[in-house]
Point group: C2
Chain length 505, copies 2
């Protein structure tokens, strides 16, 4: 493809992105395709001769797009949002003129420095302490691919530090602490690192968040048992219910156990740190006081598209001591002199895409105020949904207090008096399946201490109040229908004769 | 930013990419900036009010671009190439209309299936065995962020399998095998996983590649010592010299030790598998016969931009058994039924960018023939350079046989008769520093068994023979100057009186 063909294809791609984002709300949020739909539609081998870019682009529209779930659809309320801002797309496009693997300063100085600066900007946007700034040359921020990488890096750094302090402790005595509400990244890190992961149970009455005294009790118990916990992954905004661990209590407790590091996973909720009025509730002061590291995914609620996850650490040397391997072919005077940051020593991998370009475009084009406006709007929309649920206690209930833009709800026990908790779970599972059959709305389910519930989270940029009202209407009507459907055979079940009769007629 | 502002900004970005790629050859390959140049040029905090996208884009040109190393420059011969094809940029742009974290089939069916299909296409392009195809439902391919991730996944899967077979073996007895020439990803995986990494020495006379009998000897020795090697990372195309381990001998040896898995890292050289005439030399038949997994970075020589690294495995269950964690909020009927692939269980992380779009665009727009033409051209260009070195034995020498597009050379011992090997290394180090001062050409250095040398690798799409000739002229003239510079004080040093005289006059 020559430059002019590229220009034409590029303009066309831009036009199609325009068409897509200006019309996505008119399409189903979920695709109606069956497993194998695309494999069956494509040849089994690549073409021998090169094909025209326009044909490929048309196939993208005709074959790929019908199988896409639209995470930026205004009626997407599932999982967590996945940012797809136009500003981010532009930033990523500019990054194409600086394609490089970014493993050290020398291999593209601008890329390293822009990451360095934008991570400080974001730290300030989020109200993080000075300690986490790159400008301190002690702490600092780095862009990771995702929150799993961030947690893994934090765990590896903590393990390395612990083993340096206590070289006599056998590896199999080391323990990672999480709660039952921690994202699966905790368990996965345990699988990958071959370390046991102890998950603290958390209580409904604590809104599924970890308390300091429970932590102390567990540490004492596990230590008495010869175990060596070396890191706790606290969560600010759990996936299931948006629970916020009591970072202040946890941090205060850990003062008595200074060998146990504290990593805070705020992958989703971290974007809300941008609004000063939410910081107290999000435990930002406690994070600033106690956390060794904290992670926020820009690519969830934070307006930057995948992949872009921020990790800030209080002491960069904990990372570099654990991860630095500098082979001869990467040695260079700037790196050796210590005047520059070589980000490969802050991450699991060597190479990395130039991600700070899109972060820079987003932070500048939205500005602090625009960023805050996006977060506040999502929360306001989430509150409308929660309020509607509260207005229908005869049918629905919030299972736990809404957490910012996330509400967790279910069919209320009062809607089906006399049924057991198991039956209620079964009903709610069917209720979710009924919602899940629809293509015009997307929600996900979860379990909270055995209770089957449904999550509703806002955050797509173009969601408006009327989308929430429509979504609630669907949730409400589907609940009523699900209750009816559930109760019918039950009544028959209680009355065998009628069941037989109905079969006969 | 509204849609029309985006369209305008998008067109402008496309135009600037056109300007960039049509003029990059006229600019220095290396930036002339000092550490801190960009940090000092940027404000210390993000703006409060949003800024105009055009201003940001202009700042990108004015502030960022001067600090960028141009990996796609035709005179970039350092590290390994980093693909930045226009086709890939278009593909990545289309992916922006399907922004999603791709962790399972349901969260965007098209993305999972396109990855599934394009990984089969690439396997066929590279001549990999049927066993590695997704269509078998036994083996399969997955896009990883990079080769470090791919190796880590392979190691974790191997460790998990080994520990399932021998649950009584303590973790600290497990050992990862690499060679001294393996990419630092091996050592880094050891650091991250907390496992010892044993690096086999390799011989100059074997062209720095691992032999089967050496492997057998080491296994026997280590086992006798109570160690449990469970995986060997073989390399096809090492970073330092492009060495190719004897995968056939290694594989044959490992038949006697079936508990030791074989992962082949062909991150760079794998792209050459696309040409049937190179497969034998690249040990593709042996990979097909013996390897449990193999990795090729599309984003190096493979025409797809960062991040995009292919990992193929012979048995996908080894991955999913080691890495599957399915929390309730990710459970869905399609995933549970086993009819679809959920790629989160093939990787370290949960979320992932839609990378197969650009792979699809590249494979189709180049076609098999276009892909092969790119590889063959790079190799031809590399051979020109190697030939020029051979033509000047009085000054330069190839340190090892050129490996496809990679030559490793140095100032020849014959150019400085009588100097020790240490002095020769010192001279070559200075020689490299002299080349490294230039901005119009970019090469990197390495050490091979203690010998200081310089790497020259082709692969940028727009390199032409005249770039090679110019590069060689620079290398040659700099060598001559470096030799002169090196010998001058030496001669004086050997003749103290003349040294004094010269000071006096």
């Amino acid at each position: 493809m020559d430059i002019e063909q590229f220009r034409k294809a590029g303009y066309q791609a831009i036009d199609r992105i325009c068409d897509h984002y200006s019309s996505v709300q008119d399409r189903p949020v979920r695709p109606s395709v069956k497993p194998g739909y695309l494999r069956n539609a494509l040849p089994s081998a690549p073409p021998i001769k090169g094909e025209d870019i326009e044909d490929i682009a048309n196939d993208f529209q005709d074959l790929i797009m019908p199988g896409v779930m639209h995470w930026q659809h205004p009626s997407f309320f599932a999982y967590f949002p996945a940012a797809g801002t136009l500003e981010s797309i532009i930033g990523d496009l500019y990054a194409a003129t600086a394609m490089n693997p970014g493993f050290n300063w020398m291999c593209s100085p601008a890329c390293t420095e822009l990451e360095n600066v934008t991570m400080d900007w974001s730290a300030k946007l989020y109200g993080l302490s000075e300690d986490f700034l790159n400008s301190t040359n002690v702490g600092g921020g780095v862009i990771q691919t995702n929150a799993s990488d961030g947690a893994m890096v934090a765990i590896v750094a903590a393990r390395s530090r612990y083993q340096a302090l206590y070289p006599e402790v056998p590896t199999e005595k080391l323990v990672i602490y999480v709660t039952t509400q921690t994202h699966s990244l905790g368990l996965k890190a345990g699988l990958v690192l071959g370390l046991p992961v102890y998950a603290f149970p958390v209580r409904v009455e604590d809104n599924y968040s970890l308390r300091g005294e429970d932590l102390r009790e567990m540490i004492e118990m596990d230590r008495a048992d010869g175990k060596h916990p070396f890191i706790l992954i606290g969560t600010v905004g759990t996936t299931s219910s948006g629970a916020i661990d009591n970072i202040d209590e946890i941090g205060e407790t850990l003062l008595d156990y200074p060998d146990i590091r504290l990593h805070v996973d705020a992958a989703w909720l971290g974007a809300a740190f941008s609004c000063p009025e939410y910081r107290e509730r999000c435990r930002v002061p406690a994070i600033n006081k106690y956390a060794d590291s904290v992670c926020v995914n820009f690519h969830k609620w934070g307006l930057v598209s995948l992949d872009c996850s921020g990790l800030w650490v209080r002491d960069r040397e904990h990372l570099t001591r654990a991860l630095d391997i500098t082979p001869p072919f990467l040695r260079n005077p700037d790196g050796e002199s210590g005047t520059v940051v070589d980000y490969r020593n802050w991450s699991l991998a060597l190479g990395r895409r130039f991600r700070s370009a899109k972060l820079w475009f987003v932070l500048r084009s939205f500005g602090v105020e625009g960023y805050q406006a996006h977060i506040r709007k999502s929360i306001r929309l989430g509150e409308i949904f929660a309020e509607r649920v509260r207005q229908h206690p005869e049918t629905l209930e919030l299972v736990t207090s809404p957490s910012f833009s996330l509400s967790v709800f279910r069919i209320a026990p009062s809607a089906v008096p006399g049924v057991s908790e198991d039956e209620l779970n079964e009903l709610n599972e069917r209720y979710y399946q009924n919602i899940n059959k629809r293509k015009d709305i997307m929600l996900t389910q979860t379990k909270l201490n055995g209770t089957h519930c449904i999550r509703f989270v806002t955050g797509a940029q173009n969601t408006e109040p009327h989308h929430i009202e429509t979504a609630f209407r669907i949730c409400f009507e589907t609940a009523v229908a699900s209750i009816k459907e559930f109760m019918e055979p039950k009544r028959l079940g209680n009355c065998p004769q009628r069941q037989i009769l109905s079969r006969m007629t």
